[in-house]
Symmetry: C2
DNA sequence: ATTTATAAACGTCAAAAATACGTTTGCTAT
DNA sequence: ATAGCAAACGTATTTTTGACGTTTATAAAT
């Protein structure tokens, strides 16, 4: 049986997924579709974030973790609560009111918004009952509720965050190449970076450790592999040190 | 008559006040005191943040603005929503339970926390029915609920924020000296800064405008006065440019 | 076996910024 | 006058950045 819910508080999750093969940053969205039973008109046809009510016995963080797990099966991903959205009219658009009649919603719901950072390849969307789908963060479809705004603010926060903390390494394998890091920064920040300067700066960081190992199975000069040392990072840097790429 | 409240959602405000004369950053707190009617034992004797329930018809920002105005009379101050706190047991400490019996609280209340930035001299605490009082941010008294944690997180956020946006100038008069800016940074960040280097860096910013005016009424060499130009700042810098002092 | 294509990796130079100090200046009070 | 003092300026060195050119190692093609 489902635990008791707090009816007017929800958590919404902006799930950012980095696609290594296309080197693009994506957002995981859920299809919302409804047509009139009588006229067969399309009443609602758009996408929304994943989210759910907070249970009475869980923390907000736990709600976010649960919501992510239910959609993707994943746990232990990087997660950040970045803002609460609580305008009294935030669910009052015509389409949303139609939708609310068909779902279990409190009309004035305040949502605590989180974002997650993970790899698209870690999510299996095949057996997915929510019709969830990845969209490039710069090519989002029509969105319901105030979810467009939530995504925009999450993305802003993410850009700032990845310049001030090494969260980017959570999107890379344990052993990575310099160019993989650069691709990631470029995808998230939406900028071009000079490879030679980026390389020099990154290699000079004490927490970037060169391994005795190179890429295998590539048809070009195999790249040197590196690892990120959280230990070194934590000891070398006091809080609030800005990375700046 | 008071508007209808959302019983389980509140806004709490960390009011940071900069005291120009002592050059210290302070937090405005409200006295909480309760003694047993029978035994006269002191049941609760500590401080809490100012805060209140969200009304059904207002936005979260409006709640914060209202709460600040009721305590200080001030409007238009710098305000930032920085985090929501919603652990199910966040109001469940023994003292807090005693207090809740005596006040109008929902036991599982999620609070949206804001911080404000203003000058202590702008607040008149004389005719204050809340027994509000300033405390240096580094010498806080015993705090109720989870308000200690809320203040700590607000302060962390503030430190990062004032390095990435020129919010510090909201704490200075229209015309200020370089050393006043330095004092402010030192108070907020809790660090010492070399005056000669700081001076040079600040003067070189295009948005710091030297005025044709000097201090008057000082018994030393009067300092050059400057102003901050938001216009120049906005046009010169695209979003997310990090200031770094 | 040699060449070719290509990404990886290294190198250089000038400009800008940061760091760590020393010195001079202009004001008021004595 | 001059003493005291913060304001303001100066300087030398090191670090970091930005914008480039060049070389190297590998697999695949010839």
């Amino acid at each position: 049986m489902e635990p008791e819910k707090i009816l007017n508080i929800s958590v919404d999750c902006v799930v950012f997924g980095y696609d290594t093969s296309t080197k693009s940053l994506n957002v995981l969205l859920i299809k919302r579709y409804l047509e009139s039973e009588t006229t067969k008109d399309i009443l609602v046809d758009d996408y929304v974030l994943t989210g759910y009510h907070v249970y009475k016995t869980e923390t907000l963080d736990e709600t976010a973790t649960r919501v992510l797990k239910e959609l993707t099966g994943l746990t232990g991903q990087y997660k950040k609560q970045f803002k609460a959205f609580g305008d009294p009219d935030r669910l009052m658009n015509p389409k949303d009111l139609i939708w609310i009649k068909n779902a279990e919603f409190h009309k004035r719901t305040t949502t605590i918004a989180y974002y997650f950072l993970l790899k698209t390849e870690d999510v299996d969307l095949k057996n997915n009952k929510n019709k969830a789908q990845w969209f490039p963060v710069n090519a989002l479809p029509e969105l319901g509720f105030d979810h467009k705004q939530i995504i925009v603010e999450a993305y802003e926060d993410l850009k700032v965050k990845c310049l001030s903390e090494p969260i980017i390494f959570k999107l890379l394998p344990y052993k990575f190449t310099i160019n993989e890091v650069q691709d990631l920064y470029q995808s998230i920040l939406g900028i071009e970076i000079d490879n030679r300067n980026f390389r020099r700066k990154l290699i000079n960081k004490k927490y970037i450790i060169a391994l005795d190992e190179k890429q295998v199975g590539v048809s070009k000069k195999p790249a040197q592999l590196y690892m990120f040392s959280k230990e070194v990072y934590d000891t070398v840097f006091q809080k609030n040190y800005l990375i700046s790429i």
